[in-house]
Each structure stands twice: as C-alpha cells, then as structure tokens.
C-alpha cells in the first residue's frame, strides 16, 4: 500500500511541474508586454521600466526566472493581485470556503438523489421508471447549466419570489467570518433569520451546480448495478432466499459502489468548471467568479496564481480518490 501511495505521488510531480510551467508561461504568452501588464501602469519611463524589470526578475535568464517562480510557489508566494495589491493566496483562501460550501452541498444533493435513482433504474430495468429516470438523466447531462440557472431565477426568484437572485446572504445580516461557511457562521451568529437567509441563497446555485454530477452519478450507478446484478454471487444470495432489499442493499450495492465512488471523486473538476458558470450567474463570491472577473479585469497575476492553485487542488483530490479506490479495491494496488 505504501509503495502504491508513493508511486501515485511520484506521478504527480511531473504533472505539477507541467502545470507550473503553464502558469509560468501564461503571463509571458499574453499579448502585450508582461512587465507593463503586471505593474498595471501605463506610460512608464525607461528607468521605471528597468526597475520594474528587475523587481519582477524579468532581467534574468528564463530558466532562472522559472526556478525562482517555483521557489516562490513552494514558499506559498503565488504573486500579488494587480488590482487589489493583496497576495493571491490570501484572496484564494478567503473566497475558497464559498466555493467549497456550494460544492459540498451540490455533491451531497447529487449523490443523495443520483445513487438511489440509479439503483431504482437498474432494478426496474427496461420499465417505464427506468426509461424516465434515464431520460431525465440524459437531459441533465446535456444541460447548458448557465441557461438552467437563468430559468430557475425566472421561475423561483421572478415569478414565485421564493428565493433571492444573488449573493450568499441578505445584506441585513452582518457577522464575522469564523469558518467561512455561511451556513455555520450564520448559526453561530445567533441572529434570527440569518440561517434561513443563507439557506435560501444557497438553494438555486446548489441545484444548478448539482445537475451534471447528478446525471453522471445516476447513469454510472445504473450501469455498475446492472453489471453486479448479473453476477453469480448475487444469484446465490437470491437463491438462498434473501429478500430483495438485503440482496440489493447489502450484496450488490457494496460492489457496485466502487466505480461510483471514483466517479464522484472525478466530479471535482466538473464542479469547479461548473462553479465558474454557476458563481457568475448567482454572483456567488467564490473562486469561480473570482477567476472570471480577474480575466475581465486583466488581473493576470490572479489568473496565474488561481490556475495553479485550482489545478493543484484537483490533482490532490484525484490522488485522494486513487487512494480510496486502492483501499476499497486491493486488486488495483499492483
């Protein structure tokens, strides 16, 4: 198991170097001069330009620049925002809980509906139930989620006036950020109605972000269940006279869940891509919106740092999924 872990971790190193090269190259590939871009100043004098060049280390050979960059990253220095002049890592840490909260809610919703729906479709295979569930799942899978979010806003915020349109909580409430999770912080604040407001802000974004993972999980659960249900040991369990709930819930589901767990883990990338759109629609102050806004504000050092942080996070989560997979399925450790 330790060898498996080390090998998986070893594979991450070249990928991380590649990712850092992309982030490093990004600023240098942009149209325009990287130094003026980074300084965010216009019409700089020749002396000022040279000073800036030295300050950013652009006067050194490209290899030295890269090694310095890598060194900075390993020390937790991901650059400074051009617009706010704050460290990129600090901004990331401040906004990340919002994305994490939204993603966790979305993945809980997707799993809680997706797995039972997939099981039901597999058990009632070929029936009307199966066809309806798989039909809905395919629609969800094909959904342009930015449009789906707008539709939900029209219906629930516009026509029915049930939910707010944007943000994480109503402006009426103010309390210090303790955990960064609005649901927890609003409860801790003890203000009446704060928690309810946080929940009502969270509902629509959660539905939108959960849509594609939900469809993927339902489809994956169904096909994994179908494969397992035709196995001999399931037939044995049935012929022993075990009830359908015991056969499906205990014998079949446990093995069917192995590929499903992987699928859920692999949704992290999907969630973050979805977060870019979802957060933009609902003005959710998380890292997805932060990245889009930074691209538009030409805050390229934020884009550079954010790229690396997001890719690094996805790589770590994928490593974690591999480890969990290795734990529940010893065969692949070799």
């Amino acid at each position: 198991m330790i060898r498996f872990l080390l090998r998986k971790f070893g594979l991450l190193i070249p990928t991380f170097i590649g990712v850092s090269i992309i982030a490093f190259a990004f600023i240098r590939l942009l149209p325009g001069d990287p130094i003026t871009l980074l300084a965010g100043e216009r019409g700089v004098s020749a002396e000022r330009y040279e000073a800036l060049q030295a300050a950013y280390g652009f006067d050194k050979p490209i290899i030295v620049q890269y090694v310095n960059y890598l060194g900075d990253i390993l020390q937790g220095d991901f650059g400074t925002s051009i617009v706010t002049k704050r460290p990129v890592l600090e901004e990331f840490m401040q906004l990340f809980p919002a994305t994490l909260e939204l993603s966790i809610c979305a993945i809980i919703l997707a799993t809680a509906i997706g797995i039972p729906a997939g099981i039901l479709a597999a058990v009632r295979r070929g029936s009307f139930t199966d066809q309806s569930i798989m039909g809905v799942a395919l629609v969800g899978y094909s959904m342009p989620i930015f449009w789906w979010g707008l539709l939900l806003i029209i219906l629930f915020s516009g026509v029915l006036q049930w939910t707010p349109v944007s943000g994480r909580i109503s402006l009426l409430y103010y309390f210090p950020q303790v955990t960064g999770f609005m649901l927890i912080d609003s409860l801790l604040s003890g203000q009446a109605g704060a928690f309810k407001s946080a929940v009502s802000h969270l509902i629509l974004p959660t539905i939108v972000l959960a849509t594609i993972p939900l469809a993927v999980i339902a489809r994956q659960t169904r096909s994994a269940m179908l494969e397992v249900l035709s196995e001999d040991y399931v037939r044995t369990a049935r012929s022993k006279g075990l009830g359908p709930f015991r056969v499906i819930g205990l014998h079949a589901l446990r093995n069917a869940l192995i590929p499903v767990v992987t699928t859920i883990g692999l949704q992290v990338g999907v969630l973050l891509a979805g977060a870019i759109l979802t957060e933009s629609i609902f003005s959710w102050p998380g890292i997805g919106k932060w990245m889009v806004d930074s691209v538009f504000k030409r805050d390229y050092s934020v884009v550079q740092g954010g790229l690396l942080l997001i890719a690094g996070m996805i790589m770590l989560v994928n490593l974690l999924v591999d480890l969990v997979y290795g734990l529940i399925n010893p065969r692949i450790r070799r």
């Binding site: 070249p14 990712v19 094909s142 707008l150 891509a273 884009v303």
Partner: protein, 309 residues
C-alpha cells in the same frame, strides 16, 4: 462468454474488415442495433432537422438575423398578449427576430461542433498513434503533457487560453479543441497498445509494411469504434463549451447570433422578457440532447460487450 471465443470473434471481424462485401454487413449490423434504440433514432431525426435548418437558414428564416426593427422592441411570442404573428418567438431588446437568429445560430453551433471535433480528433489520433506505437520516452512525455492538460477544469483552461489568444469564436474553438484532445490521445493510445501485438499486425509487418502503413492503414481502422463514440460526445461538449464561453463574453462576439452569446445579451432582461432567455438555451439543450442520444445509441451498437446486455 469466455475470453478465447471473444478473441476468435474479434479476429473474424478483422478478417471481415478487409473483405469488401462483408463491410456492408458490418454497417448493416451497426444500423440494426442503432435502429433498435428508440432514443437514438429520435436523436438522429432531430439532428437531421437541425442540419437541414442550418443548411437552408436563409430560405427558412422569416427575417434577417441582424435586422433591427425600431418599432418592435421586446415583442413577446405570438401566443402571448401583445405578441405579433410576424415574430413567432418574439424579438429581442433591439428588435431582432429571435426565431431568425436561432435559425442562423444553428449554423454556428454545428460549425463549432464539426471544427472542434475534426481538429481535436485528427491531432489526438496522430499523437495517440505515435505514443502507442513508438512507446518509450516519447510515450511517457506525451502522456505527461496530456495529464497536465487534464489537470485543469476544461472550461477554466479554455477561458485562460482565450484570454491569451483574444476573445472570438475562432480562438474559442481552438481552445476547446485543445482541451478536448487529450481524451482522443488516451483512447487511441490504449487501443493501439492492445492491437499492435495482434497476429494481423505482426503478419502485416512481416510482409514488409512500413511504419506509416502499419499505424494508419493496419491498426487505426480497428481502433475507430471508441473514437467515433468519443467524437460524438466531444461534438456536444464543444457546443456546450462554446456556448458557455459565448455566455461569459469570451466566445463569439455580439451581434453574432451564436446561442450562448444571445443568452449573454439577454441576461439583463431575464425578469422582464422571459422569451429572450428561454429560446436560445432551449435550442442548445435540444441540439446537445439529440447528439448525446445518438452517441448513446452508437456506443451500444458499436460496443460488442454491451450488445447482449
């Protein structure tokens, strides 16, 4: 079914592959399984209609997609109060006919799909063939690069690439193709590695076939099935991603009647004029759904393991 009989059966397929008349039989078999799938046939019909609409857009569209009617701003669809039969699905904020824009938009979406899939598939197949055939450090280097591309969320990487290349439809398509291409590399490489030591490849090599002949004419045709399925999925992904980039303002630029761009322009009117938001998104959904239905049908028809289940 045991492993040996599967190999024998697959080998028979390879034999058929090189025999002329049997090829039609294989296509016929594909069509038989495909047509058994009601969803797939529905998808095919809808997709064909969309293709026809795109081809004959100037003949079908009741208005010009860019004509601004000053006396018809935000006219609702004809069945609503205040609607006008001349504008079946209503007009947008500057008085352009939404139906006509959607009809012309079909051209963009299909073009995006074709362009992205052709670009991603050809480069992906060539790189994958090289990786799987040459092996060694070339393979390792290629696969690490693909890992790097896959480490980013696809939309984020596409967004950043467009930031480098500059917003616009062509750059968006190039970015999306680059993001989708690793899937083709991985698939091609995996199939090539399982095929390259088969008897028919070895016999071909013994008979004196050169490297390129072995790669492209001997091995590649037998790896096509999963690639076609992946191509279909990528087609719908390309349309979705291009629309998303258009929606974020980084894809096709206004006044292009691209569906995602139309949605971006319509955003500020969502609570006043539901139709300017609803119909472009519906067009995206219907197109993507039709393609995914076809993709599911193709996968079932091409994958022999799923045929019996």
């Amino acid at each position: 079914m045991t492993d040996t009989s599967q190999i024998v059966e697959e080998d028979l397929e390879h034999v058929e592959e090189h025999a002329g008349p049997a090829r039609r039989g294989r296509l016929g078999e594909f069509w038989y399984y495909f047509s058994q799938n009601r969803g797939a046939v529905t998808g095919l019909v809808v997709f064909t209609i969309i293709v026809l609409v795109a081809l004959f857009a100037p003949l079908i569209a009741p208005h010009s997609p860019s004509l601004q009617n000053r006396d018809a701003f935000l006219v609702p669809p004809f069945w609503q109060e205040g609607g006008n039969a001349a504008y079946i699905l209503g007009t947008d904020a500057v008085g352009r006919d939404i139906l006509s824009r959607l009809i012309f938009g079909a051209r963009f979406s299909l073009f995006i799909g074709v362009f992205v899939v052709v670009l991603a598939m050809t480069t992906g197949i060539i790189i994958g063939l090289i990786a799987g055939y040459v092996r060694g450090w070339v393979d390792t280097a290629i696969m690490r690069v693909m890992d790097v591309i896959l480490a980013f969320p696809s939309l984020l990487l596409a967004l950043v690439l467009v930031a480098i290349l500059g917003p616009g439809l062509l750059n968006a398509m190039i970015a999306i193709a680059l993001v989708l291409q690793p899937h083709f590399v991985r698939l091609t490489r995996a199939s090539v590695m399982s095929e390259r030591n088969r008897e028919y490849v070895i016999s071909s090599r013994v008979a004196g076939a050169g490297v390129f002949r072995l790669m492209f004419i001997t091995i590649l045709p037998n790896c096509m099935a999963p690639l076609i399925v992946q191509g279909t999925l990528s087609f719908s992904n390309a349309i979705l991603d291009a629309a998303a980039l258009g929606f974020l303002g980084m894809g096709a630029q206004p006044p292009t009647p691209e569906w995602g761009t139309m949605l971006a322009e319509a955003r500020e009117f969502i609570l006043r004029a539901w139709w300017v938001v609803t119909f472009p998104g519906l067009a995206i959904l219907v197109t993507v759904l039709a393609i995914n239905l076809m993709g599911d049908g193709m996968r079932d028809a091409l994958d022999p393991r799923l045929k019996k289940s």
